[in-house]
Subunit: 242 residues, 2 copies
Amino acid sequence: MHTLEDFKTQVDLSRKAICEDLYASCRDQIQVKKKPTALRNLERIIDSTLELANRTGFQAMTLRDLSRHSGLSMGALYSYIGSKEELVRLIQEHGRHLSARVIYDCLEGVEGPAARMAAAIRAYVYLTHILQDWFYFSFMEARHLGREQMEAALQGDLRTEATFAGIISDGQRAGLFADVDPHLTAAAINAMLQDWYLKRWKYRRLEVTPDQYADHLINMTAAILAADMRASASPVGGGAAF
Amino acid sequence: MHTLEDFKTQVDLSRKAICEDLYASCRDQIQVKKKPTALRNLERIIDSTLELANRTGFQAMTLRDLSRHSGLSMGALYSYIGSKEELVRLIQEHGRHLSARVIYDCLEGVEGPAARMAAAIRAYVYLTHILQDWFYFSFMEARHLGREQMEAALQGDLRTEATFAGIISDGQRAGLFADVDPHLTAAAINAMLQDWYLKRWKYRRLEVTPDQYADHLINMTAAILAADMRASASPVGGGAAF
DNA sequence: GTCTATACAACGATAGAC
DNA sequence: GTCTATCGTTGTATAGAC
């Protein structure tokens, strides 16, 4: 799996497929029992929420806005969601599960630290590219969740980094990677990955494709982890590294 | 200037100094004319806004909350701010100006691409460390501004990256840096810098000091820009870079 | 210069007709 | 299963006493 097109053929991330998955996981909370109808309206609600909330924030989006944009009345809306707060929880939670599963699948069977690192980066770029609005929403609105849900979001981020840190540690033990700090380096990779969906406007303006971005990230990571460069993981002072 | 302590002695970023600066730039909009009183209350308002808004978002913070937390009544509040929306504009605008000035000062007189790169990274880490809450607020609440103000925020981000891209280009012309894409690499550095104030909890948990973070960032950047590694700026496929 | 009291709009949420 | 009408609450903002 080396391109976005490859990725798309292997993982179905259409809004329809995701909403079907989402419906299955919370059908007991939805009062509408006719599946095709429920599915269609749930998709509208999710779509509208992401679009409106990503424009000016979830708090700024009123349910009347959502009602108008989704084409459902206020009453109909409430036969799908329990409350406004539950809507944000639903989206976030499902996104985390989806993300974890996709990354896990993409790394399965890939052998060797270098290949695994490249595959993980590629998978994240493609995943977050296709679900840009979903990830942007999750990042920006994580604060509006309750304590236990926010802790879950935190853990999700840490697990992402743990994946990268683990690959780096493996590579170091195998003598393939430089002796940099695994956690700090993993955090840096994570930050660069998040930039892709947090600053969509910028990369659109630069006309950078997902494939180019993934390639560039892999190149930078390779440079950082190049074993022949530095011997020490401990910070050095004064920019002497140059 | 090679440590946070160095930085602190050269740049006064105490809340008091900043609010004094802020007061000077908008005293015509403040109805209270007694300077010491106005200064003290303005500082309370800014402090409370940053604390409350950074907890659950600016939209979620009500002016009643702000009134209670700052110790000022609703009426008193409105003799300092014109509206809730103007408050967010005030903070953002002033932060941008302050940031631009500090970075400019820190780079003045520094010669050579490598030293300039290190100095710029260091200045940003220290600046955003001291004004964590201010930068966190600016990033998260940029969406709540009007169109022209939001465009200004965008331009601020682009100018930051243009600074880094310029240094990279200079280094490439001098044959010191690898032939990577200046814009994409600058964007990556920017993303890693922003991670420092966007994920405070993580670096606090890892017990990473600002100096360590700056050093690590400089090391990574040095590795990415190391001239002897790669010859091509165009992306290569399939993780072959490793 | 700061306070309390209040105006008025808009919010999330629900009840009951269809 | 979806709608309209309406509830009670809470928001921003202001007026006028002190």
